[in-house]
């Protein structure tokens, strides 16, 4: 699964990056986010498109596994 690192970016940038990455890899991606707003917003975006999202917390960041 392709990993997209959005660390250092603030909203709406991580959502835009996720949108672009999902267009290229519609089967799913992993997205690293480093703040709560990005975690919530990327999760909302993927869920609105019908993906399921699993979040795993790391050190100061989360990895969101977005899959069909």
């Amino acid at each position: 699964m392709r990993t997209l690192d959005t660390s250092g970016y603030s909203c709406p940038e991580p959502v835009i990056m996720t949108k672009k990455a999902l267009k290229e890899s519609p089967e799913g991606i992993a997205v690293i986010v480093d703040n709560r707003a990005s975690k919530e917003n990327v999760t909302r975006y993927a869920s609105a498109l019908g993906y399921s999202v699993e979040a795993a917390e790391g050190s100061g960041c989360w990895t969101l596994r977005i899959s069909r």
């Binding site: 603030s10 909203c11 709406p12 990327v42 609105a48």
Partner: protein
């Protein structure tokens, strides 16, 4: 003039760029200053502007507001920044008169862009009867613009946020969702047409429509969200405000912006700060929660008036609507139903 997307130069925009209210409270809590006896509203209250007694029945009202662009067109940015800054004078029941501009400008940008921002601000100021009499400019990586505005009012007709009485209707004069739509707009996902028109609109008519009516308290809805500004009014007045979520009106496209995650960071920091001050039913749909806590830019006036006055106000002011009522102080300053 070189084409440039102003919003691509900034991390956050409009009132979304405000510091979280919790951080602000921590930084300012306990600061002590000598009190000037002519100062009616000052640093210690969370009102929209300072109010200074001129001693002849009039008061001077002063406010400052500036932020990074939320639109790419510099003229429209200037208009919105001016309308937003002037709004605090209307929210205190005053007449704006003079302004000083605050401009932060990147050296890489064509200087003609600055001129366009000023053109927009001056056009909006003249609509409000305000003269920009000077200002200050800094070189900065991100553009920012706004105004310090001075207005005047009558001492016995000042609208502060602390006069709400049980039984008052809470009347809002603009729709919600501008912060969400501008986040989607920054991402290229929405033209945000109605949000932009609404943000450019002065709150002058909203203030003037209350002429002769009883207004117990007022504020305007900006970066701290509908919930944040309602909380400030409820806490300052010692009442509980109950907001009917079914009465709220949203800008077209705002619900979709929320559903697809185009949500300003301030929505989350506002909710964190207000978690023990605002009671929201867990069953409330998420997009409604987003509307309640999302920062607004150049939002409407929130007026607290006895019901008969509120009804008359609605007849005079197109687009105004009642969002709830104040009651006796309960456990929670703001309750959403």
């Amino acid at each position: 003039m070189e084409e440039v997307r102003l919003t691509s130069l900034v991390r956050s925009s409009g009132c979304n760029a405000k510091l979280p209210p919790g951080d602000l409270h921590k930084a300012l809590d306990g600061l002590v200053q000598e009190r000037h006896e002519a100062l009616i509203e000052g640093f210690e209250s969370s009102d929209d502007a300072l109010v200074y007694d001129l001693g002849d029945g009039r008061v001077l009202i002063e406010t400052v507001d500036f932020f990074p662009p939320m639109v790419d067109d510099p003229v429209i940015f200037g208009e919105i920044a001016a309308a937003n800054a002037i709004s605090d004078i209307y929210a205190m029941g005053g007449e704006p008169a003079l302004a000083m501009s605050l401009m932060c400008f990147p050296s890489c940008l064509d200087i003609a862009v600055m001129r366009c921002i000023m053109d927009g601000a001056i056009a909006k100021c003249s609509e409000a009867g305000v003269v920009i009499a000077g200002g200050h400019t800094l070189s900065d990586r991100e553009p920012k613009f706004g105004l310090a505005v001075t207005g005047f009012g009558r001492k016995d007709h000042i609208w502060s946020n602390k006069g709400v009485e049980p039984g008052d209707a809470a009347v809002l004069t603009k729709k919600l969702g501008a912060g969400l739509l501008m986040t989607a707009h920054k991402a290229g996902e929405s033209d945000a047409g109605e949000a932009i028109s609404q943000m450019r609109c002065l709150n002058r008519k909203a203030k003037e429509a209350a002429e002769g009516l009883s207004v117990h308290a007022a504020t305007d809805v900006t970066g701290f969200s509908l919930m944040g500004h309602s909380y400030e009014a409820a806490a300052a007045s010692g009442v509980t405000i109950t907001v009917d979520s079914g009465s709220l009106r949203f800008l077209p496209g705002a619900e979709d912006a929320a559903r697809f995650g185009f949500i300003p960071e301030g929505r989350y920091t506002n909710e964190d700060y207000l978690s023990d001050k605002v009671s929201v039913p867990p069953s409330l749909p998420l997009h409604l929660r987003d509307m309640l806590f999302s920062p607004e830019t150049s939002g409407g006036l929130l007026l607290f008036m006895p019901s008969p006055d509120a009804e008359e106000y609605l007849r005079r002011m197109d687009g105004a609507y009642i969002i709830g009522y104040a009651g006796k102080q309960g456990d929670c300053p703001v309750i959403v139903r």
